[in-house]
């Protein structure tokens, strides 16, 4: 295991049980600053459950999560988000009645002090709108700012997810299958976006598409039935016989 001192996120012995099912089985993991760390594993391996525990939406039964050297295991979601952990959802989760710009402006607002401000029109505040516009531009939604989220194409909604996570200027991005349900063109666009983020952001990336994973990831952790069976650089993962047997051999590799 890598030296814990340089890890931005350090997970030790994490356990989550749903009744008789152990969705997270003694998981240890560390994510270094600046890397793209991919989590792969078959359906139901516990990837989303792991992300939810890192974000603070699901409470683990055991183990610790340290972020920037601080124990955040018992910290609620919003407090972790303020520390710099942002996530996107496998199933799109945005403010559907809001425009794309309103969605991202809300994320910008989250990092700009408290919101007990009752008088000025938030939609006229350039301190919120300008950064939000810039981020929409960055994810490729620059021409769609005034479209309601509900009216965006599926792929655009996925881009909006990323934009909202980016807008909180996080130090760790948890991306849960950002290309879920996307067509070929949309996936390629998203891959290019992630490639641009590489080096700028620290990302935990849950992804099924092996081409994308091996193209982008600095390190890969393989999860099977809630257990980490390997965690290494891509070449080593590709060569790992246990991984090949348990996962890569299974089909879509």
């Amino acid at each position: 295991m890598a030296a814990a001192t340089e890890a931005l996120l350090a997970v030790e012995g994490l356990v989550k049980r749903f009744g008789g099912l152990t969705a997270t089985d003694n998981v240890c993991l560390d994510i270094r600053k600046g890397e793209i760390h991919a989590i792969i594993g078959p359906n139901g391996a516990g990837k989303t459950t792991l992300v939810a525990q890192l974000a603070g939406e699901v409470a683990p039964n055991g183990g610790t999560i340290r972020f920037s050297g601080r124990d955040v295991t018992r910290l609620p979601v919003d407090a972790r988000a303020r520390l710099g952990i942002a996530r996107s959802y496998q199933i799109t989760s945005v403010f559907r009645a809001f425009t794309a710009l309103d969605n991202v402006a809300m994320a910008v607002q989250a990092t700009d002090g408290h919101s007990f401000r009752f008088w000025r029109a938030a939609r006229n505040e350039s301190a919120l709108r300008d950064p939000a516009r810039a981020i929409l531009e960055r994810v490729g939604l620059g021409a769609r700012t005034d479209v309601r989220a509900v009216n965006l194409a599926h792929g655009e909604q996925r881009q909006l997810e990323i934009a909202m996570a980016l807008a909180t200027r996080p130090s760790l991005l948890l991306l849960d299958e950002p290309m879920a349900g996307m067509g070929k063109d949309e996936s390629e666009r998203m891959t290019r976006l992630l490639a641009r983020l590489k080096g700028e952001e620290t990302i935990l990336l849950v992804e099924h598409d092996m081409d994308v994973v091996f193209a982008l990831a600095d390190r890969i952790t393989v999860l099977v039935y809630g257990r980490v069976i390997a965690s290494d650089v891509p070449e080593a993962i590709r060569a790992n016989p246990e991984v090949r047997a348990a996962y890569l051999g299974e089909g879509d590799a």
Binding site: A79, V94, F116, A121, A122, M164
Partner: protein, 330 residues
């Protein structure tokens, strides 16, 4: 400047309301002034409910309780002042509205804060039930409060003078005061729903889980909205007490909370001005439909159902720009 349908509608309706005392007097129907003043007071309460119901998605089924608490605060302070019975220590209460109305706002806002603190831990049907339960507790508290009339209510010397200027016994002057308060509440409400705070409250309605993931401590914003709505309902209650010079627990019966919800839905949720239209329409129908049939609720129920199904923004929705009719609020 080109005005849209909505703006025209709002301007015309407010002008009609402003002209009402004059028209009523010319028509020899002065009693209508008090009639409409009552409607405007309920309109204020309905607008306050819209802040949490329409913008916050919090279906509060106990809003009449905050209205009633505000009314009782004024009634009790006035009653003590009129009878010269000490209230606290040697203090005899007061009929100075600067004191009584402020107290009404603070006490009802405080009550809403405490009730919200517990209720907002739940959502959906549980939230509806728990706000209803708290409202019933307050209702029965006042029913059993024999010292202030209990079930029979409390009649008090209503001779209050507002700000040394407006005698609430003067029908027209008090009417304009109520209209001014309504306009003030609408304006402040409009500012608030479009402010950072208002955007947070609306986003919580859309997707509270996402708000938490963005880093918003959502509970405290929802609670603040709930308390503000309760305080504003209390202000409406204070006006109501001055309007009636009499108050009884029936004003906070659960059916009254239901009426307020109906006004908001009928007029248009999440529009602020809609509930004013809703209050006018509801209280008008409530007065006139019984003339035709005593089973007026049987007629009114289906009308409301159709509105909810086919006009999600209620009556006021017809005057809204297309893109606001079904979705987000502005």
């Amino acid at each position: 400047m080109k005005l849209d349908r909505r703006t025209w509608f709002v301007i015309l309706l407010l002008m009609a309301l402003a002209a009402l005392p004059l028209v009523a007097t010319l028509a020899g129907q002065e009693f209508q002034i008090a009639q409409f003043r009552r409607i405007l007071i309920f309109a204020i309460a309905a607008v306050s409910l819209d802040l949490i119901l329409g913008y916050g998605g919090m279906v509060c089924f106990g809003h009449a309780a905050f209205f009633g608490v505000g009314a009782y605060v004024v009634a009790i302070l006035n009653w003590h002042a009129g009878r010269e019975v000490p209230l606290i220590g040697t203090w005899m209460g007061t009929n100075n509205v600067l004191v009584t109305w402020t107290a009404a706002v603070l006490v009802s806002g405080g009550a809403a804060f405490l009730i919200g603190l517990v209720s907002l831990r739940t959502t959906g049907i549980y939230f509806i039930m728990i706000t209803l339960a708290f409202a019933q507790m307050i209702y029965f508290f006042f029913v059993s409060l024999r010292a202030y009339g209990g079930d029979d209510g409390l009649r008090f010397d209503g001779d209050t003078v507002a700000f040394g200027l407006i005698d609430t016994q003067d029908d027209a002057a008090f009417y304009y005061l109520v209209l001014a308060v309504l306009c003030g509440v609408l304006y402040a409400g409009r500012r608030m729903v479009n402010s950072r705070f208002g955007m947070v409250v609306q986003a919580c309605r859309e997707n509270e889980r996402r708000m938490k993931a963005l880093g918003f401590p959502t509970a405290r914003y929802k609670l603040a909205a709930f308390a503000i709505a309760g305080a504003t309902a209390g202000l409406a209650g204070a006006l109501f007490a001055a309007h009636e010079s009499y108050i009884s627990p029936s004003i906070m019966h659960w059916t009254r909370s239901g009426d307020l919800i109906v006004m908001v839905v009928l007029g248009g949720m999440g529009t602020l001005f809609g509930p004013v239209v809703g209050a006018l329409a509801f209280l008008f129908l409530e007065k006139t439909l019984p003339d035709y049939t005593e089973h007026w609720m049987v007629v009114f129920g289906p009308i409301l159902l159709l509105l909810v199904l086919f006009a999600r923004r209620g009556i006021f929705g017809w005057f809204l720009p297309k893109e606001e009719r079904d979705g987000g609020s502005h």
